[in-house]
Subunit: 107 residues, 4 copies
């Protein structure tokens, strides 16, 4: 199965510029070995199951909360049975429908 | 600490009316014993930690996926250290600021 | 038609307690005359069209941005043709499926 | 100012594969001339104001609703005064903090 998650974690009350804290979460995701892509609004991670992805996100959250007493998290999850590799396939499918290349993800 | 989660799970490809499937997730939340409130757009659950709330949501997801091969989930999480009972306190705080009662939650 | 929106606006960089700013947005929604309900995680508003609801939310945003240079907004929209009054009906439908009353909205 | 929006529109009740409908919304965004990036979980668009971006998204919604009687929309907005070009800058800022390149967006 494919468990695809868009996630964004934002500290509240740590000033207007928060990329220093965001970087710690992204670091955990990058080191997890799961396929992911960093976007301007959050990170998209793909795993085989709820547990596989959530374990990584919890670790990221634990890193951030060491320094941040209030955190706002947004997640959007797209679960689909019997599929995998959707972190690439979904974008390709939209491009195919339109018959042209769009502004999208690297390599 | 207070780990407050707004969650909505929607099956994709099971027709336009999905409350039959949504009810199974709400049933799991209702039986969990955690404080919650059902809203027209999702359910809000409060727990002491990431694990406590996520364990319940995972159970709800497992119920839904027995019948639904594709599921879209939205979560918005508000974590705050050293607080509790925010499922009531947040609404009261906004009403206080405005100095009047608003359309809001029961009991 | 029914255009049902869950919305949450949070200032970033204005400290950890933000209900003072949130109250200004809720005030605009309350005065709009549209059916709404305030929840611990955001406000749910119902209108007849994209324009009707978005006009109110834009006004709320304009109030908040007078004082807040950075704002994070989450919206979840459920549009359905040929329906109305879903701010009540959706919750009732879930309760009916389960055959019992749940913790839910006032009035 | 910079008004950065992550948006995802999903038809409910049109089967499990929905990229045909999603492509119509992405087509509107692509033709709008606004900076955007298509991701596996939604599209990120940047504009100068609420109106500029919302006008485009409303057009996309109007295209989708010609064929879809029920639509679920998720939006996450990051508004910031006195900035622009954040569709690139935010990702670069996280990479800088970590001192290495991450899996991210195309040139």
């Amino acid at each position: 199965m494919s468990f695809l998650v868009f996630v964004s974690m934002t500290p509240i009350g740590k000033g207007e510029s928060v990329s220093k804290y965001v970087a710690k979460v992204v670091d955990v995701i990058d080191r997890s070995g799961l396929p992911y892509v960093l976007t301007p609004m959050g990170t998209i991670v793909e795993g085989e199951s709820w547990e596989e992805v959530m374990e990584v996100l919890k670790k990221g959250f634990e890193e951030m909360r060491k320094e941040c007493p209030r955190i706002s998290i947004t997640m959007k999850i797209d679960y689909r049975e019997g599929k995998s590799g959707r972190i690439r396939a979904k974008v390709e499918s939209v491009q195919e429908k339109l018959g042209r290349e769009l502004k999208t993800l690297k390599g």
